[in-house]
């Protein structure tokens, strides 16, 4: 069997049914094999789209996403998606073509040192110089990407390797050789007992949950913990949906653009139960002033996260689902009366009443962006898979699209990659063909990967791009307004395409909403269509995202609304 076919067979053995890719010279043998394969190949229009689509596929499905790019520029175009997946711990296998072995290291045509370039942003990588190793390496790559703390793995394969003839028996795959890779899944029982003791004794506990809960599929266990212990829950941006945000114990998102009540609760808590989070600077602000009265239980799969930013009083290394299940079992031995911290619960409720999120419908007849997001939420009944771009659109989506389920809020958290949302939505739609997939976009971000409209149209993927169009690079403009004397240096992008015509030119549907009263009807029409759609929602141009705690600040620096 040709090595190129072996690669595809080995991928199928790992459960791969879809690949996102873009062909090229170094991939000719592999694409020749794909031509006859039953693996579905989604042809993108730029390799960055392939990487983000595979990422969106992984986030929506929980499976490992696979993308494919040719050597040199094809592979370097994957660098941003790989870094995006790395920062958010998303399981991704990126297969890149490479020049033939005898041309390696000679500055050959379309040669780039891909394993070298991606080294700081991968969980692991391989340069395959011997076809015989392919079956083992592919097996290992999926194991590494998908287990422990998930992450991207790069497999760089010289084109001549893929042309070799070799033996392959799918029923007898070679054993993995990973002596240095043993993720610790089960938390330490003594620490779990200690955590239970602290929870039982706490007067002002808060659960701070993140993407690790979603990666581990631990939402049910988290819910049990919150309900049994009567503990209010706040989630990070990537943790949105880990706990239902319409539950009375939910405080929504915390951090720089978090809800006031979540940030107040953190600032007064005496115990933080941190699950699958990494105390990112966008969450903590001034680290010294973060939860100053609290002790910390930190549950994470990655030992390197424990005490990286905040020293943990009770560190628990393990899989969130397993650890939380054990913790719940431990807590059931204790009687946790709901009255034991009644004043705290009342305080949280009071903060919610006194500092609610404000949704303004319109100003001077213009649509307010938070109203647009709320309308999208209403029309989709909160059931859609929401992807976001990066910037103001992302924060409005996070604040005003109430998430009820894991894997339905897909956003580039750690890296903050503009242009991520649309291709990720394409990947999510491939993973969940029956779901309504909405990309809440900004006009700046959308233009970074807009060419994937062709991909959506070609593959009949009816994603809905809702552009909150303010003709600004809005988040940077907001910072310029607040902190740089309103000097809008190069953030005004009034020169932009007619998005309705642009969508139509690609063969998608285009809609435009300029007045609040017409928005609902337009959204309903667009969402009902079985074709990809772009909805150009003209919003108030200088609307800002509030609440906001300036970078490095504390809850006392919070701006709740427009000054």
């Amino acid at each position: 069997m040709r090595a190129a076919e072996v690669i595809l067979e080995a991928l199928k053995r790992e459960g791969v049914d879809t690949i996102f890719g873009f062909p090229g010279g170094a991939l000719l043998p592999l694409y020749d094999a794909l031509y006859d394969s039953d693996i579905r190949h989604i042809l993108v229009r730029h390799e960055q789209g392939a990487g983000h689509a595979a990422d969106g596929y992984a986030r929506a499905s929980g499976k490992v996403g696979v993308c494919l790019a040719t050597s040199g520029p094809g592979a370097t175009n994957l660098v941003t998606p790989i870094a995006t997946a790395y920062m958010d711990s998303i399981p991704l296998v990126a297969i890149t073509g490479q020049v033939s072995r005898h041309l390696l290291g000679l500055d050959s045509f379309q040669e780039a040192d891909v394993t070298g370039i991606t080294m700081p942003i991968v969980k692991h990588s391989y340069l395959v110089k011997d076809a015989k190793l392919l079956p083992r390496i592919i097996r290992e790559a999926f194991h590494i990407a998908g287990t422990g703390r998930p992450g991207p793995v790069v497999i760089d394969i010289p084109v001549d390797v893929t042309k070799e003839e070799m033996e392959y028996d799918p029923d007898n795959p070679p054993a993995m050789e990973l002596p240095g890779y043993k993720p610790n899944l089960k938390g330490h029982p003594k620490q779990i007992r200690e955590a239970a003791r602290l929870i039982a004794a706490a007067e002002r506990p808060v659960i701070y949950a993140g993407g690790g809960v979603i990666a581990s599929g631990a939402s049910e266990e988290l819910r049990k913990l919150a309900l049994y212990g009567h503990i209010p829950v706040t989630t990070t941006l990537t943790g949105k949906g880990a706990f239902p945000e319409d539950h009375h114990l939910s405080m929504g998102m915390l951090g720089m653009h978090g809800t006031p009540y979540a940030n107040y609760a953190i600032s007064k808590a005496d115990l933080i139960i941190a699950v699958g989070v990494r105390f990112d600077d966008r969450v903590t602000g001034n680290l010294q002033a973060f939860a100053p009265e609290a002790r910390f239980i930190h549950i994470d799969q990655d030992p390197a996260e424990i005490s990286k930013n905040v020293p943990a009083d009770v560190p628990i290394v393990g899989d969130a689902k397993k650890v939380l299940a054990a913790l719940n079992a431990e807590l059931e031995k204790v009687d946790l009366s709901p009255d034991r911290h009644l004043p705290w619960m009342e305080q949280v409720e009071a903060w919610k009443r006194e500092h609610p999120l404000v949704i303004r419908e319109s100003e001077c007849g213009e649509i307010m962006p938070e109203f647009a997001v709320r309308k999208i939420w209403e029309v989709t009944q909160g059931e859609a898979i929401v992807c976001t771009e990066v910037g103001q659109n992302q924060m409005w989506a996070a604040l005003f699209y109430t998430s009820r389920y894991p894997r339905r809020f897909i956003t580039s958290g750690g890296l903050g990659t503009m242009g991520f949302g649309f291709p990720a939505a394409i990947g999510a739609q491939v993973a969940r063909p029956d779901a309504l997939v909405v990309d809440i976009a900004g006009d700046g971000s959308f233009q970074m990967t807009v060419q994937e409209l062709a991909t959506a149209v070609q593959h009949r993927l009816p994603v809905k791009v809702c552009i909150l169009n303010n003709q600004y690079l809005g988040m940077v403009r907001q910072w310029q307004e607040l902190f740089w004397s309103r000097r809008y240096s190069y953030t005004c992008i009034e020169c932009q395409p007619d998005f309705v015509k642009l969508a139509e030119a690609y063969g998608a549907e285009g809609y435009r909403a300029t007045r609040p009263e017409e928005l609902e009807e337009i959204l309903r029409a667009a969402f009902a269509s079985d074709r990809p759609s772009v909805i150009d929602i003209r919003v108030k141009r200088e609307a800002n995202v509030f609440p906001m705690i300036p970078a490095g600040g504390t809850v006392h620096d919070m701006m709740e609304r427009e000054p």
Binding site: M119, P120, K123, L127, G180, Y181, D302, P303
Partner: protein
């Protein structure tokens, strides 16, 4: 404070780059680094000395553990381990100074490994302190060139490093 990390890694291409890159990325400066095969040719040992500055060394050793090719890391306690460096030094020696140099070599149990009319090459091994002390005594004679390896270290007693 200086730490000596003894790191067992799989003997595969690119592992050194992964390890060195990680130190740089996480803001740790490597003082010295020695890499060689161990008794098992599939495994190499890296002995890395690194200065602990703003962040605890535990941070980098935990990150190091996450590299798939890293098998084991030991942060060696100076009292519980034997450490050595190797020095090669090319020093000026004429008829007047040669015997004086040879006396110092004798005292330090160093070794003259090459003799020519105007220079000697001397080899010595020992702890960093001993090697440095020897070097200081050689300086007045005129050091033409010196090379020293990084530190290797082995834990004392039966327990493997």
């Amino acid at each position: 404070m200086k730490h000596t990390l003894s790191v067992l890694v799989e003997n595969k291409p690119g592992v050194l780059t992964r390890v060195a890159g990680l130190f740089a990325r996480r803001g740790f400066n490597i003082d010295s680094l020695v890499v060689a095969e161990t008794e098992n040719p599939a495994v190499s040992r890296m002995t890395i000395t690194v200065e602990e500055q703003d962040r605890p060394i535990e941070q980098v050793s935990k990150q190091l553990h996450k590299l798939i090719n890293v098998l084991k890391i030991t942060d060696l306690d100076p009292a519980g381990s034997v450490e050595r460096e190797l020095l090669l030094i090319k020093v000026k020696a004429n008829a007047q100074t040669r015997s004086e140099i040879m006396q110092i070599v004798e005292i330090f149990r160093a070794k003259i490994v090459d003799v020519s009319p105007e220079v000697l090459i001397i080899e010595t091994t020992g702890t960093r302190e001993k090697v440095s002390a020897f070097l200081e005594l050689m300086r007045p004679f005129g050091v033409i060139e010196l090379m020293r390896t990084g530190r290797i270290a082995m834990s004392r007693g039966k327990r493997p490093t």
